[in-house]
């Protein structure tokens, strides 16, 4: 079973190599075929995963470079599995968004391998390797296939995240020099009593925090995101928001919170403040956007802000009651999945509109409901899911996050709830501008959804409904992990 993880990481890499010999026209099919295998592996992993067991499973352990404490240590728990499933879902979805050239698919596959690696590695060196490995394809995808301002956006993206990574690496080297291990589990055990002493611990904390905060991103380290998402081609935007942004949240859960529980408690109110700022300011900024892609990008920051709110609420409180901590953490986990699904779908729809119209400003459309009712209908479902309408996936995650964080940090959560209102305003404004009113001249010839597009949208939308109505099948993946993490953190 343990080799499943190795397979997951290597098959996309081999696929990327294989793409170079595949005829141009078959590139997408080859990439999708590769994803069929990884999806199969991910499902097998899910099948063999013991959801009741909170410990790491399917562990693979090899010595790598003992001199620097590097080991090949990989395994999965509920959170890892959730993210593996999300990755396996979003990549084929992104491949189907628009036909691109071979290089695009190859880079995407490399990124996919890096993501699988990031979500399974349990040793810092290995984790960091994969973490950085995902950065370069993302940079190239924006730089080569991006839109108007791609050079600036790509550079900004790279510098921002790379700076964060360097800070994080330095912090970990410092920790290694003192503690002599890179193993996540061991570090977490040491973290309970204080990983480092003196003021140097704040330096280490700040380094890791910076690296992850940029990745998520958390206000005010977010300004690279709207530019990058706006410039990236549709498929890359979907992956960036759907999966790559989850690396930051995952890092917070796996690294920062267990390693520095005491430090987080001290700066907790500040972190909560940042999360609330993320939620409010990004939703407000989304309101002011006229470019659809930029608008969705800002809402992405807003939704990840809810994740941060839940995490910080749990860690900032001493002895949080089990039910509240578990509610908030379950909500965060679910929100990770939901946001990946919904935000990717939104970018997909924006891509469809852009493909048809050649533009993607709010003012470039009007009265679409009369011309393309199916496109409007399905897109509305994704929008309502994103604004947290009950019955769709977004609601459950947000409800659980708010349930937990309201009990733990009522004031912050009450302010954050305004974000729910502003998000609704943003989406309804967009729907009004795009769908309603008289049909504008320029949209009079737009085609409605094609059969191929329906094949993509229907399963994704059904999944949104499924999670919204019966979330148990997703929650079951990580319930044990949540319970254990809640005990660890409080």
């Amino acid at each position: 079973m343990a080799h499943l993880i190795t397979g997951l990481i290597f098959i996309p890499l081999l696929g990327a190599l294989f793409l170079s010999v595949v005829p141009r026209l078959l590139a997408r099919s080859a990439a999708l075929g590769c994803n069929l295998i990884t999806a199969g592996l991910a499902l097998t992993l899910w099948y063999h995963f013991d959801a009741a067991n909170p410990a790491l499973q399917m562990v693979q352990h090899h010595v790598w470079i003992p001199a620097i404490g590097a080991q090949v240590l990989a395994g999965i728990d509920g959170l890892s599995l959730l993210l593996i499933l999300l990755t396996s879902l979003i990549f084929p979805f992104a491949f189907l968004a628009r036909r691109m050239s071979r290089g695009f698919y190859a880079l995407m596959l490399i990124m996919q391998a890096a993501l699988y690696g990031t979500f399974t590695a349990q040793n810092f060196i290995l984790w960091f390797l994969f973490y950085e490995m995902s950065l370069i394809p993302a940079f190239l995808l924006i730089k080569i296939w991006g839109g108007a301002k791609r050079d600036r956006a790509a550079t900004k993206f790279f510098l921002y995240t790379f700076l964060g990574s360097v800070a994080m690496l330095l912090s970990f080297l410092g920790i290694y020099l003192v503690r002599g291990t890179f193993d996540f589990a061991e570090l977490a055990a040491l973290g309970k009593t204080g990983l480092l002493t003196g003021n140097v611990r704040w330096l280490a904390f700040a380094g890791i925090f910076l690296g992850l905060a940029v990745k998520v991103p958390l206000f005010p380290f977010h300004t690279w995101l709207p530019d990058a998402y706006e410039a990236a081609p549709t498929g890359a935007s979907m992956v960036l928001t759907g999966v790559l942004s989850k690396m930051g949240v995952y890092g917070f859960i796996r690294l920062l919170l267990p390693l520095f529980p005491n430090e987080i408690r001290i700066v907790g109110p500040w972190l909560l403040g940042l999360a609330v700022c993320s939620i409010i300011f990004s939703s407000l900024a989304a309101w002011a956007q006229s470019d659809l892609k930029r608008m969705v990008a800002y809402l992405s920051i807003n939704h990840l802000g809810y994740c941060m709110l839940g995490l910080f609420a749990v860690t900032a409180t001493t002895a949080a009651p089990a039910i509240e901590a578990q509610a908030a953490l379950s909500g965060v986990f679910l929100q990770i999945f939901n946001h990946g699904l919904t935000a990717a779908a939104l970018f997909y729809f924006v891509g469809l509109l852009e493909q048809r119209r050649g533009l993607r400003g709010l003012g470039d459309f009007g009265g679409l409901m009369q011309r393309t009712p199916l496109l409007c209908g399905w897109m509305s479902v994704a929008m309502f899911s994103s604004l947290g309408l009950p019955g769709l996936n977004g609601f459950i995650g947000e409800f659980l996050i708010f349930k937990g964080s309201f009990a733990l940090a009522a004031g912050y959560t009450a302010v954050a709830a305004l974000g729910l209102l502003i998000t609704a305003i943003v989406f309804l404004r967009a729907m009004q501008a795009l769908f309603s009113g008289p049909l504008t001249e320029s949209c009079a010839q737009l085609p409605d959804l094609r059969a191929g597009e329906k094949m993509v949208i229907v399963p994704v939308t059904l999944l949104m409904f499924a999670i919204g109505i019966y979330p148990q099948f997703v929650l079951a993946i990580f319930n044990a992990t949540v319970a254990q993490l809640a005990r660890l953190l409080s």
Partner: protein, 657 residues
């Protein structure tokens, strides 16, 4: 603790929901099929509601529930449930029954619309969500259905989406109600955190049962007020009432179903449902939260009754009337007359649906004209519409004895007179009765009496499929009054869980005469003022500024637009600006500092280190060039150098020794 119908209560909303999904998947050409399916779904829901109602009749104070696990998070479980008690049962009956006839009416009213099937899908979906609100035994399930009701309302108000005004009204409705819903959501979270459960009834441990209520303590007031925010939004209470009149942009059956009979009543229902939370620690039936409910209700009822006096759109008058009546219901709940409030809700559901369908019939007959100044004299052309409308009007105004609204209104007035805090609401509500009679008389005269103006000239009576619902609802309004009389207050006692008793002496109460006098005054005054009404309103002629003030809805929309909305828009633009220029500038500053550092090091490199190295290498190179020039490879030169050197050495040796 359950029987068949309680366990299967979910079927009541599920059937219309299933119908909605089936209809959505039909092609838009299957018009007949769509209507049949939707109506069949309503009939099935009505029959099940009747079964449910029947089973509650046996024992006074009947209450059964059925709870189940929705999902588990971590090691915790979240449970939902359904409850069947008199409150739920009568609401089920009213909603399914009124909806059914509105569905039938729509078959005629929407006959020409090209999105006919979609309309019935939305209607069924709405009905499903609304029925879900009623049977929920969990505040969370109620909230879920509550939001879905909001979605249905959004879809239906904006049904004619090609009209920009309809799209704007739909957006306004959704957002305004969501403002209230944020409060509701926080109240729900607070209740969940304090009480540990969101189930209303759970065999003694529910949130509305003793132990649950005791655990709330002082926070009960805040929880109640937050939940009330949701009711304020949904039920169009001041200051969130502004969306309801705009919602009249939707097709008229929608106005009848959603914005008169059912959805707007959801707020009143919500307060009634969680009433125990409002009443925690009550002294003499008075709590802080209930006092707020009373005053909000009073303000709403009066403001909107006044505004209704100066409106020209036939549906907007009814919309403001609805807002006003909802305010009255809130007052009733606030002063402790829960059953009176709910009874008025039920009666209002019938007569307001009747009035809206009547207005739909008028609009249809006048070729989509809604301005009452362009109508007039329709009583001759549309006799049936006129008679049924008159019945609705009398029920709304509160003409005693034979009309459902009169008894319930009387009971509310009675309840307000007993409120121990203040008598002011009582007097203001009495004034409200006069105003109600006045604006309804005005509307009746403008629409059905006098000369036939522009749009009325080619008016025609509606087809049978639209007449039938009018007749049925009119009959119901009269029949309902029988179970509502104080002499045999069957429905009242049923709701309170008491055995009904006949007491004929209660038929004649002082309040009866008071309200009779007030209604007579209102109608009489109305006839006096408006009998010779022209297209210029008498009040407009007498006091123009006041009329403008009311006609423009006290400029509340403009006020919101210039204050709250302007502020929010400014905040949005500011956030965008900060992002683009402030935060990004900081980043660029960091980048710039790095660059500057680079330039400096480059200078140091080139001028300092590099120059030093250059000089050193230049020196070495010059030296080596000099030396390498000596290595010419000519043996003669080498030999001569050796010879000269040898000679020099010998000379040196000789000189030393």
């Amino acid at each position: 603790m359950s029987n068949w119908i309680v366990v299967h209560l979910w079927l009541i909303p599920a059937i219309p929901l299933a119908m909605a999904l089936v209809i959505l998947s039909l092609s838009s050409a299957r018009r007949k099929g769509a209507a049949m399916l939707a109506i069949a779904g309503q009939v099935a829901a009505l029959l099940l509601s009747l079964t449910a109602f029947w089973s509650t009749l046996g024992t006074p104070g009947y209450r059964l529930f059925h709870n189940f696990t929705w999902f588990t998070f971590g090691e915790q479980t979240l449970r939902l449930g359904f409850v069947l008690d008199p409150l739920a049962a009568v609401m089920l009956l009213m909603i399914t029954f009124v909806s059914l006839w509105i569905f039938v009416f729509s078959v005629g009213y929407m006959a020409e619309d090209k999105n006919f099937t979609r309309f019935f899908a939305y209607l069924s979906f709405f009905s499903a969500a609304m029925l879900g609100v009623v049977i929920a035994n969990s505040l969370l399930l109620l909230f879920v259905c509550w939001e879905l009701v909001g979605l249905a309302s959004y879809l239906l108000i904006g049904f004619w989406i090609h009209k920009p005004s309809a799209a704007a009204a739909a957006k306004k409705a959704f957002i305004t109600t969501r403002i209230g819903d944020i409060g509701f959501f926080l109240g729900l979270l607070w209740l969940y955190g304090r009480g540990g459960t969101l189930l209303f009834y759970d065999g003694g441990t529910g949130a509305l049962e003793n132990t649950g209520l005791l655990s709330l303590g002082i926070s009960a007031t805040f929880i109640a007020l937050l939940i009330f925010c949701g009711a304020v939004g949904k039920s169009g209470q001041f200051p969130l009432h502004v969306w309801l009149p705009d919602a009249m942009e939707g097709p008229t059956p929608v106005s009848a179903l959603i914005h008169a009979a059912t959805m707007v009543a959801a707020g009143v229902f919500l307060v009634a449902r969680v009433y125990p939370i409002f009443a925690v620690n009550a002294i003499n039936g008075v709590t802080a939260s209930l006092t707020v409910v009373v005053w909000i209700g009073v303000i709403t009822a009066l403001i909107s009754a006044l505004i209704a006096l100066a409106q020209w759109d036939i549906k907007r008058i009814l919309a403001y009337s609805t807002v006003s009546q909802l305010g009255l219901m809130m007052v009733s709940l606030g002063v402790g007359g829960v059953s009176a409030g709910i009874l008025h809700l039920l009666a209002h559901g019938f007569f307001k649906a009747l009035l809206f369908l009547g207005s739909g019939s008028v609009i249809h007959g006048c070729h989509e004209e809604q301005d009452i100044r362009r109508m007039g004299g329709l009583r001759g052309v549309m006799p049936l519409t006129f008679i049924t409308y008159a019945i609705g009007m009398m029920a709304l105004s509160g003409v005693p004895l034979f009309f459902a609204g009169a008894w319930t209104k009387e009971e509310i007035l009675h309840a307000t007179s007993l409120w121990s805090v203040s008598r002011i609401p009582h007097y203001l509500m009495l004034a409200g009765v006069v105003l109600t009679a006045l604006y309804m008389t005005r509307q009746m005269i403008y629409v059905f009496f006098g000369a036939r103006r522009a749009a009325a000239e080619h008016a025609h009576e509606s087809p049978p499929v639209m007449k039938l619902p009018l007749i049925v609802l009119a009959i119901c309004v009269i029949l309902l009054s029988i179970v509502l009389t104080p002499a045999w207050p069957w429905l009242h006692d049923y709701l309170l869980g008491e055995r009904p008793a006949v007491n004929l002496s209660l038929l004649i109460q002082p309040m009866l005469f008071v309200s009779l006098a007030l209604v007579a005054a209102g109608i009489g005054l109305g006839i006096l003022i408006y009998r010779r009404a022209t297209i210029v309103d008498p009040m407009e002629r007498a006091i123009p500024p006041l009329f403008r003030f009311l006609e423009n809805r006290m400029w509340l929309d403009e006020l919101y637009d210039w204050t709250i909305l302007a502020l929010a828009r400014f905040a949005a633009r500011l956030s965008d600006f900060l992002d683009r220029y402030f935060w990004d500038s900081l980043v660029r500053l960091c980048g710039g500092t790095g660059q500057l550092f680079g330039v400096l090091t480059k200078g140091l490199d080139e001028r300092g280190i590099n120059a030093g190295v250059n000089d050193a290498t230049g020196l070495t190179r010059g030296l080596s060039r000099f030396i390498s020039a000596r290595h010419s490879g000519q043996v003669q030169v080498y030999l001569s150098v050796i010879a000269v050197s040898m000679l020099a050495l010998l000379l040196l040796y000789a000189w030393l020794t």
